[in-house]
């Protein structure tokens, strides 16, 4: 971003990334010209409702989408273009430069092999070397993610680990080759609340220790507030705002962001009804004309229903996709 003159170039720079799925009948664009960037060591939260395209955009970066997906635009990782990269080259990036952890820790480990086997294989996949070295590295990683008696646990099968422990193993596996970027796709959604905070804590600690950047895909603004530096809000396949996290919570620029913040349970007094944004996210094949949020926006003008809005850069290194952002003062109610 040009406004951050002092900041280093972003590690991951996504510009106008679009993802379309082609079925035998038609083509549906589920991610539309998404742009965001992450700098080394920084955490970006991507938030949005289900179906807003947050998972699809992050999987697109790693080329993990099925063949029916068409990806266009640009995503550069440390200067290397990821869009259209060959499978072979992409395999070198995955798990080595960029890793991903999924939201289902219970099913993400192969039940037929020991933890140690799978960790070592993730390591040797990119680094090669002797089995012994990989085993040592696996032990080290298990210790790092806070699994007691790592040496012994290496020989056990996934079924003897609980959900929280499995997510720790998945994190160890994702980080075993010291990637510079970790994509965490709702890593805590399937876990109960206390384990959730332990995992978040762990990720924060590991980030400080290893200096990697994290993209945190989530629908939980509480998680965003506690771990992220930047936040990108997605709505109906578009980024509608990217802001530093403090600015976002204090002074959201987009009516949708404000609506999300207003929907948090903390924003109403005890006993009061929770507030919400009326309506639902339009499906990608029936998007409204003009601004995609206009049917649900209480500030919508005539013009909002006719003219599509672009993502604009505003001061403070923020981006917003709303034509009224200058004249609206949306205050977070918290």
């Amino acid at each position: 971003m040009s406004t951050n003159r002092t900041a280093p170039a972003p590690l991951l720079d996504v510009t106008d990334l679009s993802v379309a799925f082609t079925s035998h009948k038609d083509t549906v664009t589920v991610v539309d010209r998404v742009s965001f960037s992450v700098r080394a060591g920084e955490t970006l939260g991507i938030v949005g409702e289900s179906g807003s395209g947050k998972t699809v955009s992050s999987l697109a970066l790693l080329g993990l989408l099925p063949a029916s997906a068409t990806i266009t635009g640009s995503a550069t990782f440390d200067g290397t273009q990821l869009v259209g990269m060959s499978d072979r080259k992409m395999r070198d990036v995955r798990g080595n430069d960029m890793s991903v952890i999924f939201q289902e820790p219970m099913t993400s480990l192969d039940p037929s092999f020991t933890i140690g086997n799978q960790l070592a294989e993730a390591y040797r996949n990119h680094r090669g070397g002797a089995k012994k070295a990989a085993q040592d590295r696996a032990t080290e990683m298990l210790r790092l993610v806070g699994i007691p008696e790592p040496q012994r646990r290496l020989g056990e099968y996934p079924h003897s680990f609980s959900g929280g422990m499995r997510q720790r193993v998945m994190i160890a596996m994702a980080l075993i080759c010291s990637p510079r970027l970790l994509i965490a796709d709702e890593p805590t959604t399937a876990l109960d609340v206390t384990i959730q905070s332990q995992i978040l804590e762990l990720l924060k600690d590991l980030q400080t220790e290893l200096g990697m950047a994290i993209i945190f895909v989530t629908h939980d603004l509480g998680v965003v507030a506690s771990v992220c530096d930047q936040v990108a809000v997605m709505y109906a396949g578009q980024v509608i705002e990217q802001s530093p996290v403090d600015d976002f919570f204090a002074d959201p620029l987009h009516p949708y962001s404000a609506g999300l913040l207003d929907s948090m349970p903390q924003s109403v007094a005890k006993g009061e009804r929770l507030r919400m944004i009326a309506g639902t996210v339009p499906p990608p094949n029936r998007l409204p004309v003009g601004c995609r949020f206009n049917p649900r926006c209480r500030y919508a003008l005539e013009e909002c229903t006719t003219t599509p809005q672009d993502l604009e850069e505003v001061e403070g290194g923020r981006m917003v996709r709303c034509m009224r952002h200058a004249d609206l003062t949306l205050k977070a109610t918290t």
Partner: protein, 327 residues
């Protein structure tokens, strides 16, 4: 295993810090099992790998164990047939035709005065060889094709499935008869014919399993750390489809034995004077009025051995079943 699993579900004994539930409060644990509070992290997928404790579970199944021991003994005896002092199975003694079992000839002598016991053992060799060879060949053909069909989907899958349909609409034995008729009579050709007959079933089985496993998160997770496709197929997929395949192979071996006997009975297998259980049955059949008891020997051997294969298949299924175990 069972007890441990159910405890593990409720309390994670390896939590390092900030455990939400007091470990000593059994009341709290009680409540969770009654559904007052259900943590979303309940293991839905604590599948115990099939090979862990396999032998212990298989051994517990007495019937399957007996069947397995019988088969092992039969195989060993058949392999060592030349070295265990059996009489020459092809040595004729026309002065002692259709003699009933005696001390010198444990199972009697056939219509050419040959020792039936020696012929049964040498015949076991032929029959087992044909059936194992048939299953092995079928697996060699079918596993790669099943993996290919299941993994690639689309027209490749469609084509392979239609071809296997085409094979499967013809009754197995008729198809085997035609193929071995074309190839000419020999044990190897019978095995090849049977392999062609069995392969489509295996292709289907592997394909179905692969389609299930393909969508598992651990396959995607493996991709996400940059594993190569062949590595994923070999390690992530093949290992997780192996269990039903092993069971199917055991049961099919029994059927192959039976089919080999049928084809030999019709004269398509091993050629005279060598024995197989099927050819022995043909010889005995021709003597049915003079020495009807001769039928019982190869017939019984076939029946018992096929039964053994099926019982072993059942035992394997119970011991390898990953779905219902521990419940």
């Amino acid at each position: 295993m069972t007890d441990w699993d159910s405890r593990n579900r409720d309390v994670d004994p390896f939590l390092t810090s900030g455990d939400n539930r007091p470990l000593d409060s059994t009341l709290e644990i009680e409540r969770t099992t009654e559904g007052f509070w259900t943590p979303s992290a309940l293991p839905s997928h604590d599948t115990v790998p099939a090979h862990v404790g396999f032998w212990k579970r298989f051994r517990r199944n007495k019937v399957a164990m007996v069947a397995a021991i019988y088969l092992v003994v039969l195989i060993v005896v058949a392999l060592l047939a030349k070295h265990i002092g059996l009489q020459d199975p092809n040595l004729q003694n026309l002065t002692e035709i259709n003699h009933k079992p005696s001390g010198a000839h444990w199972l009697g002598q056939d219509d050419l005065g040959r020792d039936v016991f020696a012929r049964v053992i040498y015949g076991a060799r032929v029959s087992l060889e044909a059936s194992f060879l048939a299953v092995a060949l079928a697996l060699i053909i079918a596993v790669p094709l099943g993996l290919l069909a299941g993994f690639s989907g689309g027209w490749i899958d469609q084509t392979l499935m239609r071809v296997s349909d085409a094979f499967q609409v013809i009754p197995a034995l008729v198809l085997a008869l035609v193929i071995s008729g074309i190839l000419g009579p020999s044990t190897t050709n019978v095995a090849i014919a049977l392999a062609i007959v069995f392969a489509p079933g295996f292709v289907r089985l592997v394909r179905g399993q692969v389609i299930g496993v393909r969508e598992e998160t651990y396959v995607e997770a493996s991709r996400s750390i940059g594993a190569k496709p062949l590595f994923i197929i070999r390690k992530r997929v093949l290992h997780n489809v192996a269990s039903p395949l092993i069971v199917q192979a055991a049961v099919t071996a029994g059927f192959a034995l039976l089919a080999e006997a049928s084809l030999s009975f019709l004269g398509l297998g091993v050629q005279a004077p060598d024995a197989s259980w099927g050819t022995m049955l043909t010889r005995a059949f021709s003597q049915v009025y003079d020495a009807g008891w001769l039928l019982w020997i190869p017939g019984g051997a076939i029946a018992i051995t096929v039964l053994a294969f099926n019982l072993i298949g059942d035992g394997l299924r119970d011991a390898l079943g990953t779905e219902t175990r521990g419940a």
